[in-house]
Symmetry: C3
Subunit: 365 residues, 3 copies
């Protein structure tokens, strides 16, 4: 179960991630950032007793000069004895990620910026603009009538390589199959005075605007925190939107997808502009990531699947996301080679496509 | 593929089961009780040709002094030549279950009571009160106005360690996120004169009342008999209810969950008061239980997963439920140890949590 | 990972397939027929870089006297240098299918008829009548009032061994639980003047009529092309229809089912008249078919599962569908034998049931 050498050495483009914390974490904060839970509770026990918790002890401890499987206490004590920037640099450098596509639109004040992250990780960073955050930042200073052109101007002049929608968290993924008319958008904006955007017309319109601006559009799909209703985050709910936007020819990227990764693979197969990844679920599944990774690759053409970590706040998650990805990809390719499903040259090509070439093509990096 | 010794020796708390039949079974009855089908039909062939049917022949036959893989005919002939109490004792004792949490609210007249079951199995039994059955038993003798306090009084004075809702069978799991007002409940009760309870207001209210009485609340989820519509039994439909009840701090337990076990694991991860199991699907999958068991443990913290059999009517199902659970848990732990995902001490702790300690904590046993 | 000899030698009944193309294919056409995508696009790369694409190079190339893993270019060049009838004969003969149940109601003019297919493949063919196509062919020449008896007469006098509904593509699988009244059907037909049938009353009525005529009824379920909304093709949406039709005792067959194959297995377990297969997904998953095949067999009784290819247009898909089925069935049986879940005699019986005996019983072949 070792990792194939050519997979271990792949340079990675992480097409969806976030910044890391500027500060140390308490045990409680660390545990709750490992998973998607709001908080740790005595009723349920420690989150170190989870797949990702064990992965921290097994894989991250040695990078902080601790033995494999160091206890949670030892790990956090050692971690907090070091400067957080040093900890972050260690894990980022070890990940082998050379290009970071960063969604900086969530809890930006607590986290390193994209540029800081890239500098620490010895790579290059590009920004992904979070549509709802952009809209929320523009609303207070724009009338409803000014809002539409203001968003358009910002997307047109943006240096971002892509956009991201968190419709899943706000209204679910059942976006309609028609582009909202400007007049309807203005009316909906007028009804939304400020604060958290949860209007379906505005959220749908933002997605269309991103595509019209030529920005590859990421959707959070599936597994996330308790803010979402999982059954409303099934990617196949996006079908009318995908059907309607196919002719634009701008990529749409389905993030995470667990436990709907098979549905995502279906959409990426049948719609020419749709792509998918396993994101968050890769490190979240720890030693069980390989099986789900193989499931995610069942029917998706290999030119349609990407690597990402969705790492947020804890630099360990970059390292674990990349590590578990390499192990899962290696297991997938080894299994195919053992079954004589493809030959070595094919395996190398699949690996390069998924690790970086698909992302480079989609985002024109 | 042997079972790890420390897993084979685990004492088990079965946190969800039913009584066993007082009588022998005909072949037709036996076959239909093996699965969730209403009846056996020539069109589909014998249910002995199924995963659980083969498991009976492989694993149960030797306990009745027959060779492994005895034929269905031999098995039933031998079984019916023995006293049913002796058969039940044999399988219950062999299960290694020391504590039974019994939902006695379904077909009680045909089945042994919780106390009889415990006595036969050499263990301890606790009652779980089935909410819809309680309501149906109280309705005939109570006016609509009397009904609300009558239910409350019964739950407050109950010796049960938990409550169970079969909302899945009656209205699906899309319970609203608000507690029904007493006046609405009285109105709904007035409209329900007697018989099978299928009113969404009353069923939702019962669930809230159980939690208010401090009773851990079990929900049937997923796979069951043909009375349910499977897509209405997706546990993520419970999200609004779970979000609304989190602050009560009383455990909610999602039973079975197949084929939504990944969704259940997600809910158990993000909500501090939510737990899950694989119940019925464990013996139902027979020799294939290990893969689904591993799937069920993908993202759930190990402090949030429990053992249960959901055994009903046939004592074989207690034995097979416990046996397949041990084999699946052993396979999961062996795989983790082989991958060096955790160490022996961790494996022992995970095993104890799932086998009994989580149940003891949740139900305050 | 070789195939068990008795599985390799099984004669197969393909209970759901289509004709093959009368002509050669361009590379673009060939690639798009391999998968369910509308077209190949540079953005996503070649479809030869997919599970089924690799399977063509690995398994089909040697039958055209090319080395294993020949390149896509070599493969297509060689294929087009031969007569298409010779290519088709080669793959059909190599599939080991002796009986073809052919849905000829889609793109009939491009494809060989059932009789031509059987002749080329050295087997026997039976027709399956595609209900929506039948209705669309009768509508232009019948008034609304004449339409109902015209459909009935055609179904009553049909030589077909079964019927097929593509409700999934037209209205989704949420058919109502009541048989539409004739008057409602006439009204709905009157509102549908001609062309593509997408009326829920008429489509539901067609399904009932097929069963009333005693025709086993196939439903497309799950995975297909971009015309469908995948979440509307969950077979559990059919539950009210299945509950209502159980007493008719006429088989209902759920086709493909991926990624809802576990839901399909549940329905086939609980309803005496329901059966399922993995169809299209078998060749679509290529070297990963065995895992999903095993999942599909988790809870379905072995008397309720059938073989099919859903092969369409490309004769390679017959061969790959049969080959991947044999490998997956062999893996399933080998695993069960290795775990001592059943004995050799049982394995032989399961294999015969799934390969042909279930189909013979269901369709009265």
């Amino acid at each position: 179960m070792g990792t194939l050498p050519f997979v271990a050495e792949l340079g990675l483009v992480d097409h969806h991630c976030h910044g890391v914390l500027r500060t140390d974490s308490t045990r409680e904060e660390f545990e709750s950032l490992l998973l998607e839970a709001d908080a740790v509770a005595p009723l349920g026990g420690s989150f170190f007793d989870s797949a990702v918790g064990f992965a921290v002890r097994r894989w991250c401890a040695p990078l902080l000069d601790l033995p494999r499987h160091a206890s949670a206490e030892e790990y956090l004590e050692r971690r907090n004895s070091l400067h957080i920037a040093e900890v972050s640099r260690t894990f980022l450098m070890a990940s082998g990620i050379h290009t970071f596509l960063v969604d900086g639109g969530f809890q930006a004040d607590r986290l390193l910026s994209a540029a800081e992250l890239a500098s620490l990780g010895g790579g290059v960073a590009h920004e992904v603009v979070r549509l709802e955050a952009l809209a929320e930042s523009l609303r207070p200073s724009a009338s409803a009538a000014e809002f539409v052109p203001a968003v358009r101007a910002r997307l047109a002049s943006s240096s971002a390589v892509g956009a991201k929608s968190v419709a899943a968290y706000r209204i679910g993924l059942g976006l309609p199959g028609e582009r909202p008319a400007d007049a309807d958008v203005v009316r909906a904006v007028a009804a939304w005075s400020s604060g958290r955007l949860a209007d379906p017309v505005v959220i749908t319109w933002l997605a269309w605007e991103a595509l019209s601006a030529g920005l590859p559009l990421q959707f959070h799909v599936g597994y996330g925190d308790s803010d979402l209703d999982l059954h409303l985050c099934d990617p196949s709910l996006l079908t009318p939107f995908l059907r309607a936007t196919a002719s634009l020819g701008v990529p749409v990227l389905l993030l995470h997808n667990y436990p709907f990764h098979r549905q995502a693979g279906y959409l990426a197969q049948v719609f020419p502009h749709v792509f998918c990844d396993l994101g968050l679920a890769t490190h979240g599944l720890g030693h069980q990531a390989s099986r789900v990774f193989a499931e995610a690759l069942e029917i998706v053409p290999y030119g349609k699947f990407l690597f990402s970590t969705d790492a947020f706040a804890l630099p360990e998650l970059y390292y674990l996301g990349a590590l578990m990805f390499r192990r899962a990809l290696s297991d997938f390719l080894s299994d195919g080679l053992r079954r004589d499903a493809f030959v070595e040259e094919d395996a190398h090509r699949i690996a390069r496509l998924i690790a970086s070439e698909n992302a480079a093509r989609v985002y024109k990096l």
